[in-house]
Structures are given as structure tokens and as C-alpha cells.
Symmetry: C2
DNA sequence: CAACAGAATGTAAGCGCTTACATTCGGTTT
DNA sequence: AAACCGAATGTAAGCGCTTACATTCTGTTG
């Protein structure tokens, strides 16, 4: 069963095998491998040699069970198909990987029920920490998080609106800023295509921001000029069609994100409405798409990658030190591009 | 320390606590919870009640250690920022989630070294299965996979080129088809912007496909008309600039993916070269971007989501039954859109 | 009604690792 | 040379779960 080195063939070597081959105890092997506790350099090398010879890798279950840590953090996002989340997740993963922590990913499709289910699943997987999107979720979900005492951060929302550790920006202010600029460009007939607000604080805040800015200028956002749709190109195109084929027609459409705005551009193109001379369009997010379409979109730059990497850093910090970190608010920036133009036509 | 129900306060309840409260043994609790072995309905309910009352969730480490399964599968992709991988990953995750399996995600940035590092990390995390992109990786990586006996599937490559279980399509044939169509449209001066071929069999195959089709028609792909760049919009734009600002100028540019093609469109726009009347452009992948840009891109439709969901299904099958499944080859389809146009100018 | 079979449950031995505590080792100090 | 001390290492007790095997029920059969 055992060869001359003490290798049990067939099964994977365990720490005991390494210990035997290196001529030390399992405790020393563990200490040498995890750099916890002092080990003479010479011993460390012997252990390393044994590990290499046997091709040993620690068993995850054993390690997790004994140490009560999985070196795994989980993220639940609406969908990876939205570039903003993909970017943040990418940065999150890269940063975690520097600490030798792996990332469990789950998606909710913007559904609180699915998020809760995924949350249970990740908690059962023993994640050491969690990254979640937005502040809206069921009491149950928050309670789950609370009783498990798992460090978690909330991304994308405005820290000012949240009692938890959150890494995001002021969606409402950013949206207000967009509207202000559209208004400053002379537009008065302004429509908005929003994401689904139900259960989505960011979508809600963006509409609120636009509405507030308009109101401040004595303008109103009529009901039929505020359309709520899923964040897809096709939905954006369709919504734009609905707005643009009726009279009167807005001179500008403010969109809740770049994908929707790209859909609006496509609708305009097909309806032979020139952007920006006949219609101004703004997006939100500043993803690659914003500069790929023609004309390039005026939009709000959001530091997606920094949100992700900051999340990783705060979480690791929290997990290691045990101290809850402070929230982080990022600034956003309006990116003026061709899709928004000063209104030339005199409107009485 | 224990309250009247036997709840030890502070710490999380364990299976023993549930057993005590339900008045059964830990074995029965385990059987009831995992639906393994027969348990009287009445007993099952008692266990469920105890679980609910205590808010019990199984400890992951203990479970993994005892059962030798983690219900976790890993995926290593180049980057989530490329929509094709994000889409496949999304589908993979969704499908896995139906089997109550969670997904560990790691990224390699197209670097074999990083892939190997991530592979080690995921193997150490005890994944039950793995999804990898492409067939090129170090001997060491393959050996690692082999000695661990972890089921793994390869995505995106051509199953015909691989000895492992792979889920993909014939990249070379698809690329040849594109070139054929460009040639059939009358183009003779054709340039190609490729992805980095080193370590990437798909990029390699696509160039080979285009070159083969051209050769079959007595055409050559001159060195200065074949540019290799990373898959980004900016790189695509820059490469296109390089090609388009010299004389002679190609009448068509075949791109290795849609993102690069979008970059070419942007370069053309800035150089005042009309697409498609003065320049035809083709992409590859058929991501949303292809229909967002103007003119919409002629491209190759690849069933990204199906690749992902199929990967999940095959992996689960393999893990559960222990039988290695067969590879799957998907068909691709050329999507004729405006960016490719018949060459009108008579070229002698 | 005894004998028996299958269903339901219990007992207890690990799974492979970490870590508190105990022990040994090799100088230093007195 | 005895006493002492910190560094290095060893011992062994869990961590919480699954599961092979043993035992106890329960209903059926001859």
C-alpha cells in the first residue's frame, strides 16, 4: 500500500504524509505552510521539498473545518451581462486574487427573491464576506446576513442613504446634473427612459434626480414621457420609438444607462431623426459602448472598476481586522460628447 | 450555556443541536436534510421544524470534509469584461444554480501563467469540476488537472482539435466563411485585424481560416494588412487607422471580433471613410454591440449562452454519473448586415 | 403467534486540518 | 555547572459532518 517514501498510492497525500516524509509533525507542516508561528528555515525547506515530492495540496474541507475560514468571498449581482457589473466584478476578483481569496459569483436578475435564494446558497457555502448590489432587499435577507455575522458591503448605492457599509455614489445628484446640463443646453421638452424602479434604488434615484432638476426649472416630466423598461438595447429602442412617433416630440431624451441610450440612437436612426441636431440623448455609466456608437454618448462616468477593487479591499480589511470599515463615496463626472447638443431651434 | 431547547447561545447551531431538538440522531438529521436514505415523513418534518427553529445551516467545511464534495465548480476565463465570456458565464451560473451548485470565477487575462495560478487556487478550493477557455495551456496545468482527476470542460475551441471534452465550434471554418462572403461581395483588397494569437487557439484559427479562404481565391493577406492586437475598441481603432491611412487602402477589413470591428468603424468615421460604401467591415461574435453601432456589423453569430449552459449540464452529468460526456460542436451563422457591402467600384 | 423481512433509526468511526498546550532544544546568564 | 529562557517542535483534541454497520421497529407470512 505504501511505497518506500510512505506515499500511499491512489489517494491524495495528506498533511500526515508530508509530515512523515519531512520528518516533522503535522503541526509543523501546517505552520510552515501557512506561515503561522515560527519555523526554522531549514525545517521549512524540508517541508517544502516533501510537499513538492508528494504533490500535496491541502484539503479544502479539512482546512475550512479546522480554521473556520474559507478564503472565499461571494458576490451577488443582477447580471454579468451588464458591462458595469462585469467590470466591477472583474476588478473585485483581481484584487481578491492578490490576497489569495477566490470569488463565488451569483446573479439575481434584479429579483429580490432570487437574490435571497442566492444569498442563502452563498452563506451555506461558508463565504467569509459578501458584496451585494443596492440597498433594497427583504428584511429576511438582512436578518440572514445579521445572524451569520458575515461582513458584507453594498455597492452602487449612495452611502448617505444606507446604514450599512456601502461603496457607491450619489445617483440622484448625478442624474440631476445630467438634467441640468440638458436644460442648460436649452431643452425644455425632455423625456426620460428609466430602468425598472421597483426594488432598485439606483433607478429610483436617477428618476428622482432628473425630476428634481426639471422641477427646479419649472419643467415637468409628463407621465407618457417617462417610460420604465429593462436595461436592454431592444427595450430602449422600443421605448424611444413609442416616444418619438408621437406629437409633440421631446427634443431630448435622458436615459438611465448607456445601453438604453444606444437603443434610443438606433430608434432615432431608423426614424430618420438626426442625433444630435433633432434630438439630444444622454446615457449613464460611460461604458465602452458609449464611445462606440455614433454619435458618441454624453453620459455620466462611473468608476466601476474602482467600486469593485475598493469593495475587495474593504472586505478583506474587515475580515482580517474584524473592524467594520467606513463607506466610500465616489465622485462621478459628466462626459460631454456629441449626443447632447445645444438646442438651436427657437421655441416660443 | 444551553437554554431550555438545548440551544447553545452565541455559536451557530450544529447538526447535533438539531438532532437533540428533533429527538433523533445526527444521522437521521443528515439523511432528512440531504434526502439520502429513507426517513419517515413525520421524522423529516420534525427535523425541518428543528432546523427552522434553530436557524440551522450546515457547516460547509464539515460537509465538504465528510462528503468529499463541495458542490462548487470553477471557471477560468480571460476576462469578464469581454461580453462573450460574461454571457457564457451568466448562463453557466444560472444552470448550475438549478442544481444548487455555486460558481467560483477566476480570470487569466489571456495569460497562461495567470491561468495556471488560478487553476491551482481553484483546485485548492476543492472545486468538483472546472470550465476552461481554449485548448492551449502548459503541460503542468494539464497534469495538475489530471492528477486531481477533476472533471473539466474546455469552451470555445473546436472539439475536433481537442482530446478533452470540449464545447465549442469550428473557429477556422467560421472565419473562412466570413472571408468567402467578403470575397463573394467582390472585395480583393482585404485586411485583417486579429486578436493576439500567441496562446490563443481561437485567434489563431480565425486568422488561418481567413488566410485559407483568401488563398483559395488566389488572394494573399500581406503582412502589413494583418495586425494583431488585444481585443479592445481603442486598439481596434488604432490598428484601423494604421491600415486606412496608408495607400493602397483595403476595401474591406475582417476583424477577429465585434469589439475590434466597432473600433474600425470609429476610425473610419473619424477618417471620413464611409462604411460600407468605401469600406466594408466584418466582426465576429454577434454581441449586442454589433447591432448598436452604425452601420450594424456583419458578423458571425456564436451561441455564447448555449456554450455556457451546455458546459454546466455536461459537468454536472460527469460529476454525478462519473462518466465522461462527449464533446459538443455548435453551428455558427453568418449574420449579414450593412457593414459588408458589395464592392461597386470596378477594379481592373 | 413465532419468525422474519424490510424500513427506520442509532452508533460511532472517520474525513484532513489547525492550534492550545506541553515538551524539548540550544544557547545565556549567573 | 546549574538555572533559566525563548525558540522550535510535538501531542492530541477537536472542528461539524457523512455513512457503514448495527440495532430496533413494524407489519407480514406461514
Amino acid at each position: 500500500m505504501n511505497d518506500r517514501n510512505g506515499n500511499r498510492n491512489g489517494t491524495h497525500p495528506k498533511i500526515e504524509d508530508v509530515a512523515r516524509l519531512a520528518g516533522v509533525s503535522t503541526a509543523t507542516v501546517s505552520r510552515a505552510l501557512n506561515a503561522t508561528g515560527r519555523v526554522r528555515e531549514e525545517t521549512r525547506l524540508a517541508v517544502e521539498r516533501a510537499v513538492a515530492e508528494l504533490g500535496y495540496t491541502p484539503n479544502f474541507g479539512g482546512q475550512a473545518l479546522a480554521s473556520k475560514r474559507t478564503n472565499t468571498i461571494g458576490a451577488i449581482i443582477p447580471t454579468m451581462e451588464n458591462a458595469i457589473f462585469a467590470r466591477a466584478l472583474q476588478a473585485l476578483q483581481e484584487t481578491l486574487s492578490e490576497s489569495n481569496v477566490t470569488l463565488l459569483v451569483a446573479t439575481s436578475h434584479y429579483s429580490p427573491q432570487r437574490e435571497e435564494a442566492q444569498l442563502r446558497s452563498l452563506l451555506a457555502r461558508g463565504v467569509d464576506g459578501l458584496a451585494l448590489i443596492g440597498i433594497y432587499r427583504s428584511e429576511i435577507a438582512y436578518r440572514l446576513l445579521d445572524t451569520r455575522r458575515v461582513p458584507f458591503v453594498i455597492l452602487w448605492s449612495d452611502p448617505a442613504q444606507s446604514t450599512h457599509v456601502t461603496i457607491g455614489f450619489d445617483n440622484q445628484a448625478a442624474a440631476s446634473d445630467v438634467a441640468e446640463r440638458v436644460i442648460a443646453a436649452g431643452h425644455r421638452q425632455i423625456a426620460m427612459i428609466s430602468g425598472i424602479r421597483d426594488g432598485n434604488d439606483r433607478a429610483e434615484a436617477r428618476v428622482a434626480g432628473v425630476a428634481a432638476a426639471m422641477q427646479a426649472h419649472g419643467l415637468v416630466l409628463p407621465n407618457n414621457w417617462l417610460i420604465e423598461i429593462p436595461y436592454t438595447l431592444d427595450d430602449g429602442e422600443q421605448a424611444a420609438r413609442q416616444i418619438l412617433t408621437k406629437t409633440p416630440r421631446p427634443t431630448a431624451i435622458v436615459c438611465a444607462n448607456d445601453v438604453i441610450a444606444a437603443g434610443v440612437l438606433r430608434a432615432a436612426r431608423e426614424l430618420d431623426i438626426d442625433v444630435p441636431s433633432q434630438l439630444s440623448v444622454t446615457g449613464f455609466d460611460d461604458i465602452e459602448l458609449a464611445r462606440a456608437v455614433s454619435p458618441p454618448l454624453s453620459t455620466v462616468h462611473v468608476p466601476h472598476r474602482r467600486i469593485g477593487s475598493t469593495a475587495a479591499r474593504l472586505l478583506m480589511d474587515w475580515i482580517i481586522t474584524g473592524n467594520r470599515p467606513n463607506s466610500v463615496t465616489f465622485p462621478t463626472a459628466f462626459m460631454a460628447r456629441e449626443s447632447l447638443q445645444r438646442l438651436e431651434v427657437a421655441v416660443t
